[in-house]
Symmetry: C2
Subunit: 120 residues, 2 copies
C-alpha cells in the first residue's frame, strides 16, 4: 500500500469522533442521520468527518433516494493492522534475542555457581 494511503488511514483514526463513528458502524451499516445521533456536533461536521473516513478507505457510502448509507470497509482496517503486525515481528525478534542472551547469562551463572561448588 502507498505511504500516502497509510498516512490517510492513521490520520482518519487520530480523531475521537471518527473512531467513535467507526465503532458505531461495527454493528452494521447506518444512515448518516442515525450514525450522527450520539454526537454533539453539527451535521456539517459529521459530513466533514465522513469525507475524511471515505478518503481513507475506512468506510464506503451509497445514496438511495434521499438517504445516504454508511458502511465499514474492513479491508482498510486490516491494512492498518498489518502495519503493526509486520513490525511487531521485528520487535519481538529483537526482544526474543535479548531474552536468549539473558537466558544464556543465567546458564553461565548457574554453571559458574556449580563450578565454584565443585572446587570448594
Amino acid at each position: 500500500m502507498l505511504q500516502h494511503a497509510v498516512d490517510k488511514l492513521f490520520h482518519a483514526l487520530a480523531d475521537p469522533t471518527r473512531r467513535a463513528m467507526i465503532e458505531r458502524l461495527g454493528v452494521g451499516p447506518k444512515s448518516v442521520s442515525e450514525l450522527s445521533k450520539p454526537f454533539a456536533v453539527s451535521l456539517s461536521a459529521i459530513g466533514q468527518h465522513l469525507r475524511v473516513l471515505e478518503a481513507s478507505g475506512l468506510v464506503v457510502t451509497r445514496k438511495e433516494g434521499r438517504v445516504r448509507t454508511v458502511e465499514l470497509a474492513p479491508a482498510a482496517l486490516r491494512t492498518a493492522e498489518d502495519w503493526f503486525a509486520s513490525h511487531r515481528k521485528q520487535w519481538e525478534r529483537r526482544f526474543d534475542r535479548l531474552g536468549v542472551l539473558l537466558e544464556a547469562d543465567d546458564v553461565d551463572d548457574a554453571r559458574n555457581e556449580n563450578r565454584r561448588r565443585r572446587t570448594r
Copy 2:
C-alpha cells in the same frame, strides 16, 4: 487509555518520516544523528518529529553527555494494536453472523433443489 492519548498515537503514526523512524528503531536504540541519517530533512525537522513521537509515548529518549539516544517504547504500539484487536472481534462477529446466514441460505437452496427434484 484516554481518548487524547490514542489521538496522539495515531497522529504520530500518520506521517511517513515518523513511521520510518519507528521502523529504524525496531532494530535497536540509536543516537539522534544515527537515526536521522537516511532522511532528507533537517535535524530541526527530525527534532520536531521526535517531540511528536515522544509525546505519543512511542519512543523514549535519554541524554548521556552530548548524545541523545532514542529507543522504542513498545507498550504504546501495543495500545494502538489493542484498539484494532478489540474492534476486529466485533467486526468478525458481525461477518461470522453474515456467514451463518449465507450458509443457511445455501442449505435452504439445496433443500428446495432436492424437493423440486423429488416432485418432478
